[in-house]
């Protein structure tokens, strides 16, 4: 379901109110802020790290550290833009720290399980996650933000501090890479 502009405005207004109170030291406001965004924090971490245990770690780290990091939130962008940037960066750092060998070059994407077998066995999600996890970082991040989480090109560009054109280009390459890998499985 896509949120309307009115719903997005209202959500942003609520976030601003909660952020203001949390920065003034109101723990109840912080908890509500986390409650509103915890599932997306978790999902972005899961899709970028490609591993549930890593997503657990990243989610906990973000929840704990955001409380103090809020002091550094200038409020010039939407809270969600800032939050998702923190989650993306922490997920990438976590993955580099714990599984530095996982990051493949674009040229050495080797096939894993055959999609026919996986999909037929009802494991489409697992097959998709495996393929996404093998994308290079620069392709994986826009794919997770736009294709999987449904954010706009403008939002993804703000989160990754790039241009919309860059996001579009990287997303197109990510889609092509995924299709090539899926095809190599057949």
């Amino acid at each position: 379901m896509t949120a309307t502009d009115d719903e997005r405005d209202r959500d942003a207004q609520i976030d601003r109110w909660l952020v203001g109170r949390a920065r003034d030291g109101d723990p109840a406001a912080y908890e509500e802020l986390i409650r509103r965004h915890r599932d997306r924090i978790y999902r972005i971490a899961l899709r970028i790290t490609g591993d549930a245990a890593d997503a657990d770690d990243v989610t906990q780290e973000v929840v704990i550290q955001l409380w103090t990091a809020l002091a550094g939130f200038a409020g010039t962008s939407a809270f969600t833009t800032w939050l998702y940037r923190v989650v993306v960066n922490r997920s990438l750092d976590h993955r580099r720290r714990h599984r530095p060998q996982v990051e493949p070059r674009e040229s050495d994407l080797a096939p894993v399980a055959g999609p026919e077998r996986s999909v037929v066995a009802g494991e489409a999600v697992r097959a998709g996650l495996a393929a996404i996890a093998r994308l290079p970082e620069t392709q994986r991040v826009p794919l997770v933000l736009c294709q999987i989480e449904g954010l706009s090109y403008a939002q993804a560009a703000a989160i990754t501090k790039t241009s919309e054109a860059t996001v579009r280009g990287r997303l197109a390459r990510a889609r092509a890479t995924l299709l090539a890998e899926m095809r190599s499985w057949t």
Partner: protein, 192 residues
């Protein structure tokens, strides 16, 4: 699949078409072109696992987030209980339960945009975190709750406060058995 189909169309736009969920929306050329329709069908098939990932919406494990929030709160936030005596024994209700309940109840009242709950603060723990009136809360099964909220613009705030008081008092009483002796409503902001 080649970059250009036999009909002269490039495949990249077809990939975008499928990835953006428009694979079934054919333009006039595609509607009569077997090359385009075959390519779209093949891309749809290959794209299915990615679509399955996007359709899945896993939620953060609640215990995981709660554990992290407990570390943020530090120790001491969860120790106060309300106590309801019965001839067969007693029931203890953690202060956090009352707070969460009050917040949830208040947030459901029409006109409330967002609500935060806390137990009455005056004379109790600094920052007012989760502390009931200790004398009344523990010994007498009573509790005092404060609800801080942002309301929708253009309504009678006094009437809103009364509605919240009624809903919160009744809900806390029914669910916990504690008697809400005081429900303070603090309207902190109004949203246009």
């Amino acid at each position: 699949m080649t970059e250009t189909l036999a009909c002269g169309r490039a495949t990249a736009p077809l990939v975008e078409q499928v990835a953006e969920g428009r694979g079934q929306v054919l333009d006039p050329h595609q509607a009569r072109c077997p090359h385009c329709r075959a390519a779209l069908g093949e891309i749809e098939r290959l794209w299915a696992p990615v679509r399955a990932v996007a359709a899945e919406r896993p939620e953060a494990p609640p215990s995981l987030v709660e554990s992290a929030l407990r570390r943020v709160r530090g120790s001491g936030g969860d120790v106060e209980y309300g106590r309801i005596e019965t001839p067969q024994g007693h029931t203890r209700v953690a202060a956090r339960v009352v707070v969460a309940l009050a917040r949830h109840l208040a947030a459901q009242v029409p006109g409330v945009e967002v609500a935060l709950g806390r137990l009455a603060t005056e004379g109790h723990r600094p920052a007012g975190e989760l502390v009931p009136d200790v004398e009344a809360g523990v010994a007498g099964g009573s509790t005092a709750v404060q609800v801080t909220l942002a309301a929708a613009y253009g309504q009678d705030l006094q009437a809103l406060g009364e509605r919240i008081r009624t809903v919160v008092a009744r809900g806390v009483r029914e669910v916990t058995g504690l008697e809400p002796v005081d429900v303070t409503v603090h309207v902190d902001d109004v949203f246009d």
